[in-house]
């Protein structure tokens, strides 16, 4: 019925959406969307290094994103610059350095568009393996730090005072962010990855009154976006990554309509 590449694309997208759902909620709650963007931009450098030294792309992206996160934390401690300026500095300079390095690697043909916007239809079985092994590891780790992370998202001092470990949870969460970017870079590309984190979670916020519901709807929203996006990509011959994000946007707009209705019902 469908070609193998399409089945692989669906499986990859579903795997990624299950992980971006819960992580995306924390990105929204903790106001980390620009932080996610910065890690994603630095992923280009990770990809070029992977090609240069013949490393696994996901591993290389993961290492570079983690490194950027560590540099960010050090800069925050040592300079008086505001957080968003530091994020912008790191995002654009790592993107620029990545592009410059690509310029030097003339012996390799890069699919720049694929890197920036994703090429889910080129996902191979190896990528699937990384998603379906890495994804559950990320989810289990998130489950383990959930209580500390969520409590400190509500109030850091309360979590710290009552015996939880918010600092460790925050550090682990940063690593998880680098990991999800690493495993999903091929699917939606580095410019759109934060969209996959934020838009389904934002949609879920509009229709949820508890954290658990928001995580649930965020996963459902991500899954629907992947399925709708991929089928429309096949139907209208549009690029797959942007189609998925566009589908997520449509769901977000629908969730806004839902708000208006519920306000009308209340009155």
């Amino acid at each position: 019925m469908f070609d193998d590449f399409f089945i692989r694309a669906l499986l990859a997208g579903i795997g990624v959406a299950c992980v971006t759902g819960p992580l995306g909620c924390f990105v929204v709650w903790r106001r980390l969307s620009y932080f996610g963007d910065t890690l994603a931009h630095s992923a280009l450098l990770g990809v070029t290094l992977a090609y240069s030294f013949e490393l696994n792309i996901a591993l290389s992206v993961f290492l570079i994103s983690s490194l950027i996160a560590v540099i960010l934390i050090q800069l925050q401690k040592k300079t008086n610059l505001p957080g968003d300026a530091l994020l912008g500095l790191l995002a654009h300079s790592s993107l620029a350095v990545g592009l410059v390095v690509i310029g030097f690697l003339t012996f390799i043909r890069f699919d720049i568009m694929g890197l920036l916007f994703g090429d889910i239809l080129a996902v191979n079985t190896n990528d699937l393996l990384i998603i379906w092994v890495g994804g559950p590891i990320i989810l289990i780790t998130l489950k383990l730090i959930w209580k500390s992370l969520f409590a400190s998202t509500v109030n850091y001092e309360l979590a710290e005072a009552e015996g939880l470990n918010p600092d460790r949870a925050k550090a682990v969460f940063t690593i998880l962010m680098a990991a999800i970017i690493a495993i999903s870079i091929k699917m939606v590309g580095l410019l759109l990855i934060t969209g996959m984190l934020i838009i389904p979670a934002a949609m879920a916020r509009n229709i949820s009154d508890s954290p658990q519901k928001m995580v649930f709807y965020s996963i459902i929203g991500g899954l629907l976006s992947v399925v709708l996006g991929l089928f429309s990509s096949l139907e209208f011959n549009t690029p797959s990554g942007p189609s998925i994000i566009a589908a997520a946007l449509v769901l977000f707009i629908l969730s806004l309509l839902n708000i208006k209705q519920s306000i009308k019902l209340k009155n």
Binding site: V28, W29, R31, K147, F150, A151, T153, V154, N155, E157, L158, A159, E160, A161, E162, G163, L164, R205, S208, D209, S210, P211, Q212, K213, M214
Partner: protein, 246 residues
């Protein structure tokens, strides 16, 4: 070692951005006892509580903590609108608590009807009652209450202080209380520590009330409280006779 001690500060202090917030604080909270911190704004009351709780890490002096079962009501807490969270979710924030325990705590502070409401829609006083309910619901060994009744209406305030006293008796838990309400302090406390960047005096409520430094810090209000206190307890001090007015 006295095993009734829950937390003990030894000559503790904390410096932030080069400014000493509080220094030289020694105090201990024991099971079943209420220790109250009083003092003017900026005197280091909340800082002292955070030192005791282990929120501040690089402190001077030392803290010995003998329990990890702690309930905390912070002075300031703001819930982000990006977070969809109901009262019930908030009650389960740091501990898995059985539903009937949640209900019991919310009933005690008079906000059981708000259980399924969104936290962002509560009034200041309602939220304060939820904060207190959350802290007591886990049946802690140590309660740290930083201005726990701020924004609560007057009758509610009295009821909540009575509740705090009752909790200390029934759970046999130690309480570190920060309050600006001198009247309450003087009637429901075992030990008072008066802070002004350092410990300016401490002891039983009546000892502190008689202290001259305390009188200069709190002025007229302090001496009024003293008369209320002496009035309520004049049988205790009747043999002295010198301050008795009624």
């Amino acid at each position: 070692m006295d095993n009734n001690i829950l937390v003990k500060l030894n000559n503790a202090g904390f410096r932030q951005n080069g400014k000493m917030l509080v220094e030289g604080v020694s105090l201990q909270v024991e099971k079943g006892k209420i220790v109250t911190l009083i003092g003017p704004n900026g005197s280091g009351k909340s800082t002292t509580a955070k030192i005791a709780l282990g929120i501040y890490k690089n402190i001077e002096g030392s803290v010995e903590k003998y329990t990890n079962n702690i309930g905390y009501v912070p002075q300031k807490i703001s819930i982000d609108w990006t977070l969809p969270i109901r009262v019930n979710d908030f009650m389960l924030l740091t501990d898995k608590i059985k539903d009937d325990q949640v209900n019991e705590a919310l009933s005690l502070t008079g906000v059981i009807h708000l259980k399924d409401k969104s936290l962002g829609n509560l009034s200041g006083g309602e939220f304060q009652r939820v904060l207190l309910a959350r802290a007591i619901s886990k049946k802690p060994e140590l309660l740290v209450l930083d201005e726990p009744v701020q924004g609560v209406d007057y009758t509610g305030e009295i009821a909540l202080y009575e509740l705090i006293k009752k909790i200390s008796d029934t759970l046999n838990c130690g309480i570190l209380l920060i309050s600006h309400d001198l009247h309450t302090v003087m009637t429901a406390t075992d030990h008072v520590v008066c802070l002004n960047g350092h410990v300016c005096c401490s002891g039983s409520p009546i000892d502190v009330a008689r202290n001259n430094e305390y009188k200069t810090l709190f002025g007229d209000q302090a001496s009024q409280i003293l008369s209320v206190y002496e009035h309520n307890h004049d049988h205790v001090h009747s043999d002295e006779g010198d301050i008795k007015k009624n």
